[in-house]
Amino acid sequence: MISKEYKNLAHQLLSFAKKNGCSAARISVVTGTERSFEYRNTQLETLQQSAQNQLTLALFVDGRYGTFSTNRMEINELKKFITNAIDSTRCLAEDAHRSLPEPERYYKGNDAPDSGYDKQIELLQPDDRLQMARATVEEVYQTDKRIISVTGSYGDSEEHSYLIDSNGFEGEKAQTTFTLSAEVSLKGNGNARPESWWYDASLFWEQLQKEGVGKKALERALSKLGQEKIKSGTYPMVVDRMNVGRLLSPMITAMSGNALAQKDSFLLDKMGQKIACHCLTLTDEPHLPMTQGSRLFDSEGVATRTRAVIEKGVLKTFFIDTYNASRLKTEPTIGSASVLTFRPGDKDLQGLIAQLKKGILVTGFNGGNSNSATGDFSFGVEGFLIENGQPVKPISEMNVTGNMLTLWASLVETGNDARTGSSWRTPSLLFDSVNFSGL
């Protein structure tokens, strides 16, 4: 947890800000430590370790607003910093919509702030960490003569944060993250060196997958050998659970208060309307225990709660913080999504594929973008051609192009294989008729 010294510092600075011209202020202190070990082929290639501090202020001055951050934690220097920050903020135009949240919206519970913190991180030794990276490489190194390079990386980090504001909010959080990843490069056709990766991440050491990450990366790289593009056309598309986030992200961005306030969202007038297939039910579940993304309050201190985001295809929630609620003349909800869950279907990835006579399984996106105002998108993809329920040929160097609203309306089925190590717990998805460009 954040040290008493830093908590005192935050309180002193809050008083200082109030005394020196701020009508309101919010201060956060974040400290963290990160370690990583990267082992390649036969040797430890890089090791890194560092501790960091960050103090961030949101200042409300004469109806104006500014945010300021620094890693210099000395009180006198910080006071000077705040004085300058207040002067800078005074040079702005007024913004009547800026305020702290109403105190009744704050989180006021007594839940343990460190439920995502695993003390094991304090017990691990450098050699334990190195061994994790090394063992991941040794799972596969020299097991296939096409292997050029195998890199295993182990990393862990802890983050402690403390948030207070002049309306009386006080909250803190401590969290650990453990990550194990592998990258494999192979000798392919000609000069090509197909590459792939796999990883696992968890808040808790016990839950981290410690074996098989190297093997999975190799398996994925091998399956890419002989990739080719195929004929352009409209195909059913299965997207594996690791990659669904790429398609979900433009939707979530379009639900944000800022995009709505700037009229830069293709979901602008869509509240309460059908924006996806009835088979899509998406929920924000901030209180799922031991889960990446879980939190009791957002960055304003507002209490989180379970929210239907999309229910049977109907849009139910926009992510609207205090500022944007005032600008949009609507009620605030929460600043951003915490843990997004899908109502599961009854098939896993294999099951989704098995029912297709012909289609494309997407296992990776390569670049591309989406237009925030219209929802038009175009992404590079790789994956497999599916015929008669089986992946038959690896494909690459193709694009999928369409519109977000059309795409999500064409969703046919959600998988039951949701990711667990990620705050977006995406399952594999099956869409009907998507435009692929290739030959």
Binding site: L44, E45, T46, L47, Q48, Q49, S50, Q52, G66, T67, F68, S69, T70, N71, E74, E77, K80, F81, N84, A85, D87, S88, T89, C91, L92, A93, D95, I148, S149, S185, N191, A192, R193, P194, E195, K224, Q227, S232, Q262, K263, D264, N366, G367, G368, N369, S370, N371, A373, D376, S378, G380, E397, M398, N399, T401, G402, N435, S437, G438, L439
Partner: protein, 505 residues
């Protein structure tokens, strides 16, 4: 006043202003010495502190070590809903310690620059070495003089929020004046100033004062119930002299024209076709298709599709490609890279031959050649690695008109947002925000929002015509690699790529 307190008294803009006149005009050895002395004073370190830490860095047996001191100030002003109503600033301060043994790196940093904290970080970083017989630190310190590629006329420390606000406001007002369909404008201005001090085990001691400035306009337009958006920006390593009415006019014009064109644009029919890359931002083709794959860390690991192609013919013999860190005021320029190597202009493709990878110290040592000055890092929190600077192709002798005239059915791409590449497979992509169809040798219907995908070596070999209109794109290009973001630029004369896969419907 005690040295460390001197730093402590500063705020965002005031900090270090006493240093500025000396740092802005380093043209001789005496100036360099003076600047380094000021910078050491700024960071509160003496030559004996540096030598002591260096000795500790090498004591486990290492080939090389360096210390990278940084104090960076970033200020950001932005406008929404018609008024400049948000400001933010960030200060970052610390020292990175790197210890290198062969291809292996130990790295740590300290946010408090005290001898104790530096030694603590050093002990962590030096764990990469274990009893090997390494090198010893140079006894003599050398203070090389570097060419200044970004002389500052008026430092950002001399400018207040009040001075900057009118330019951001003007972006809003000009955009609304230019077109009745404008619904919203998001305008922003950002400036960054970095104080850098570098010392390594070869005894090189140098400092830099790195400015960065940008101005951007994002315009949202409504027309007959439809909404479109467009972004335009300019960025340079310049002081506050960057802020002019001309640059405001440029970004506004580009945003308005871009958004206007979107209303008449369609998505093309997708598939393989010839693509004419317009002069300027099309340099993204070089950045993604070959630039990353030429970075020598990927090649020393033998995982790039170009790993076996050094010295080989990779494209038409009239093609020359450059990565240049020495263009005055350019966003990708550096006086020296982040491991003390002087910046330079590096020919990576010469008359169609792959003549050089982009090197940092580690890869240069691996190949037994001097570094090309491409060892860059995001900040003191990261170890450097090979990165691009300003990557562009030299002029050819065709004209853009004759290139377009030779295409029966294809697309012309001129505005881009982002790109990506797979180093080993060679597949790269870039997103075309807007362009045109080419039909029977003429630009016809505008197109928008499509991805183009190709394979690096094939695309390079498929460049069959190069025009004589090289243009560098000075937008806010930021390159990401292994979690580190750095500023870069790129450029291209108009070229014809015989065949790429164009996204569409």
């Amino acid at each position: 006043m005690e040295r460390r307190n001197f730093i402590g008294m500063g705020g965002m803009a005031l900090m270090g202003s006493a240093l500025i006149p000396d740092l802005l005009m380093i043209t001789s050895c005496a100036d360099a010495k003076n600047a380094i002395a000021l910078m050491m004073n700024h960071f509160g370190v003496s030559e004996s502190d540096l030598k002591k830490v260096m000795a500790a860095a090498l004591e486990n047996g290492a080939d090389y070590a360096d210390l990278y001191f940084e104090h960076t100030f970033n200020n950001y002003l932005s406008l929404q809903d018609g008024a400049v109503n948000r400001v933010s600033s960030n200060i970052d301060y610390g020292v990175g310690v790197r210890v290198v043994v062969g291809d292996r790196t130990g790295y740590a940093y300290a946010e408090n620059i005290t001898p104790e904290e530096m030694l603590k970080a050093t002990r962590t970083a030096s764990r990469i070495a274990s009893g090997n017989t390494g090198t010893t630190a140079a006894v003599n310190v050398s203070e090389p003089v570097f060419t200044d590629y970004y002389p500052v006329v008026r430092s950002w420390e001399e400018v207040t929020v009040k001075d900057k606000t009118p330019y951001v406001q003007k972006i809003n007002d000009r955009c609304f004046a230019m077109d009745r369909r404008v619904a919203k404008v998001i305008a922003s201005q950002s400036d960054t100033t970095s104080y850098l001090l570098f010392y390594n085990s070869e005894g090189i001691l140098c400092c830099d004062y790195r400015p960065m400035a940008s101005l951007s306009a994002y315009c949202i337009m409504n027309d007959k119930g439809r909404t479109e958006n467009f972004h335009s920006a300019r960025a340079f390593r310049k002081g506050a002299e960057f802020l002019t009415d001309d640059v405001v006019e440029t970004v506004c014009r580009e945003a308005i024209d871009g958004a206007s064109r979107m209303f008449t644009a369609v998505k093309p029919k997708g598939g393989e076709m010839p693509v004419v890359m317009a002069a300027g931002g099309s340099g993204i083709l070089l950045h993604e298709a070959i630039g990353h794959a030429f970075e020598a860390d990927f090649n020393r690991k033998n995982i790039s599709i170009f790993s076996d192609l050094l010295g080989k013919k990779v494209c038409n013999e009239h093609i020359n490609v450059i990565d240049d860190g020495t263009i005055a005021g350019n966003r990708g320029s550096i006086n020296f890279d982040d491991e003390g190597t002087p910046s330079r202009k590096t020919c990576i493709v010469t008359e169609g031959i792959l003549t050089s990878y982009l090197h940092d110290r580690i890869s240069a040592r691996h190949y037994g050649i001097p570094s090309t000055g491409n060892g860059r890092r995001e900040s003191f929190r990261y170890a450097p690695m090979p990165r691009m600077r300003c990557t562009y192709m030299e002029n050819g002798n065709a004209s853009e008109e004759e290139i377009i005239a030779g295409v029966k059915n294809g697309v012309y791409a001129d505005k881009f947002t982002n790109g990506q590449v797979q180093i080993g497979a060679g597949d790269f992509t870039f997103f075309v925000k807007s362009g045109y169809l080419i039909e029977n040798g003429k630009l016809t219907q505008p197109i928008k929002d499509i991805n183009i995908i190709g394979n690096g070596p094939k695309a390079l070999a498929d460049i069959t015509m190069v025009a004589d209109n090289l243009l560098l794109d000075n937008s806010t290009w930021t390159c990401g690699k292994n979690g580190q973001s750095i500023p870069v630029t790129q450029g291209l004369p108009s070229v014809l790529v015989k065949k790429l896969t164009v996204g569409g419907i």
